[in-house]
Structure formats: structure tokens, C-alpha cells
């Protein structure tokens, strides 16, 4: 296992080196973050939130809005758009609760980023989708139930 991690690490470092030598990466402020492995591998939502945001205290907020279909015919492609009017957005995360790994995707925002994140996710079955926004050190959420006719996990 350690060897795998090492190999992965060296691979990643390799690509960065290649990109840097090609002049693609300019040495500016880079977000000090790797891929949040722990969050993606959590089987419960609370664990994932703890791993990614460092807190699982959540407040419902109507300043977080979700634009998604009420019914998705194809669970393999469910478009989701999260918008927020909150200030100082630090991160946005999307969880499809009944997926084997609920934590689906997230966005880290640093200065100058905005409260908008859209993506297309896979859903195994009908489930509420929770969207979290961390702003000003607090966590806010909104939820929407999406009906899935044909599941899109595995196959």
C-alpha cells in the first residue's frame, strides 16, 4: 500500500515537473491542497463533511440554491448547478446521499472565485442531493430530491 502511494506521488510530481518545464505552470500561489481522498472514500455524509470542510455543523440556508431536474431519466448524467449569494465562499460540495460513496464532488475557492458550481453527476437511485456551501467559516446547505429512472452507477 505504501508503495502504491509512493508511486502515485511520484507520478503526480512527474507530471507537474513536465508541465513546469513546458512553461505551463507559472510559480504563483497554488492552492495548498491535494485530492481529498478521505472525503471521497467516506461512506457517510457527516464523515465526508468532516474530512473536507473540517466541520459537520450545517445550517439550512435559502441563500444556497440548486438548479437540477426533478426527475432524471438517465442516472449516469444528472446536471446539477449550485448557486449562492453568500459572501466569502470557501468551498462548495455536492453529495448524492444514497450513492455508495455519497461525496460526489467539490470545489475549493480562493480569493476571486465565485459562488457558482455546475457539474454532471452519476446517481445510483432516487435520492436527495445535498449541496453544501462553506462561507465565512460556516457551513450552509440546501437539498433537492431527484428521481432517477435508470441508475447510473456501475453497469
Amino acid at each position: 500500500m505504501k508503495r502504491r502511494i509512493f508511486l502515485k506521488g511520484s507520478l503526480a510530481a512527474g507530471t507537474i515537473a513536465v508541465a513546469a518545464s513546458a512553461g505551463l505552470l507559472t510559480p504563483t500561489r497554488v492552492l495548498a491542497s491535494a485530492w481529498p481522498k478521505a472525503a471521497f472514500e467516506s461512506e457517510t455524509e457527516a464523515e465526508a463533511l468532516q474530512a473536507f470542510f473540517g466541520t459537520s455543523d450545517v445550517e439550512q440556508s435559502d441563500q444556497v440554491s440548486i438548479k437540477a431536474p426533478l426527475q432524471a431519466e438517465n442516472g449516469a448524467v444528472v446536471p446539477i448547478k449550485v448557486m449562492t449569494s453568500l459572501e466569502n465562499v470557501e468551498g462548495i460540495a455536492i453529495c448524492a446521499i444514497k450513492n455508495p460513496r455519497p461525496y460526489t464532488t467539490s470545489l475549493r475557492v480562493s480569493g476571486g472565485g465565485g459562488g457558482l458550481y455546475s457539474t454532471r453527476i452519476k446517481m445510483g437511485q432516487t435520492s436527495p442531493v445535498n449541496c453544501y456551501v462553506k462561507a465565512g467559516g460556516k457551513l450552509y446547505m440546501a437539498s433537492q430530491e431527484i428521481k432517477v429512472t435508470v441508475g447510473g452507477c456501475g453497469g
Partner: protein
């Protein structure tokens, strides 16, 4: 093999919105090859970084739960006309790609 397309449009909420379409299989590691019955290994984009004029403004973390050929949209409220937007991604096998476009 990899191809990444980017589109920048004006956002309704103010500022601009970057839409990125990356061509990627996004394998979950759960699917089986129908012919051989063997599992197809995981292959997905891990991180996607958005930079405006070289400064990173957002980093999207994707996982196996994101659809194939992911279409990712991110808001960049402070961008101005003429700013250079760069997006780059890396997957779990170390493959990467990037795209660059100026705000109109």
C-alpha cells in the same frame, strides 16, 4: 487523446462563468468488461484548477461519482474583459491536460 474545451460566458449573477468540457472516461472501478468479465480499473479526473491571469481562483475535486466527459462550470465574478483564463486537470493515472482562453 485528451481534449479539453472551454467556453466563457457572462453569468446572470454577475461576472463570468467558465464552462469546461473535458473528454475523459471517468471509470468508477465498479464496471465490468462484458467480454472478459474483468473489472475496469478506476480512471477519473482528480483535480481541476481554474486560474485567472496565472492566479488560481478555484480548484474542483472530482471523483468517480462525476459523469463521463465531465462538464464543469465555475463562476469567476472578478474577471474582466481580456483576462486570461487557464484550466488544467490531472487524473488518478497522472494524465493531464489544459486549455486557455481570454475573456471576451
Amino acid at each position: 487523446m485528451a481534449s479539453t474545451k472551454m467556453k466563457i460566458k457572462k453569468s446572470k449573477t454577475g461576472g463570468y462563468e467558465v464552462m469546461v468540457l473535458a473528454k475523459h472516461p471517468m471509470e468508477t472501478g465498479l464496471r465490468k468488461d462484458k467480454k472478459t468479465g474483468e473489472k475496469i480499473p478506476e480512471h477519473f479526473i482528480e483535480n481541476m484548477e481554474f486560474a485567472v491571469n496565472g492566479e488560481v481562483v478555484a480548484q474542483a475535486n472530482l471523483g468517480t461519482g462525476v459523469s463521463k466527459n465531465p462538464l464543469i462550470g465555475v463562476g469567476i465574478p472578478n474577471a474582466k474583459s481580456g483576462d486570461k483564463v487557464t484550466v488544467s486537470w490531472v487524473d488518478n493515472k497522472g494524465e493531464s491536460d489544459s486549455a486557455e482562453k481570454a475573456v471576451k
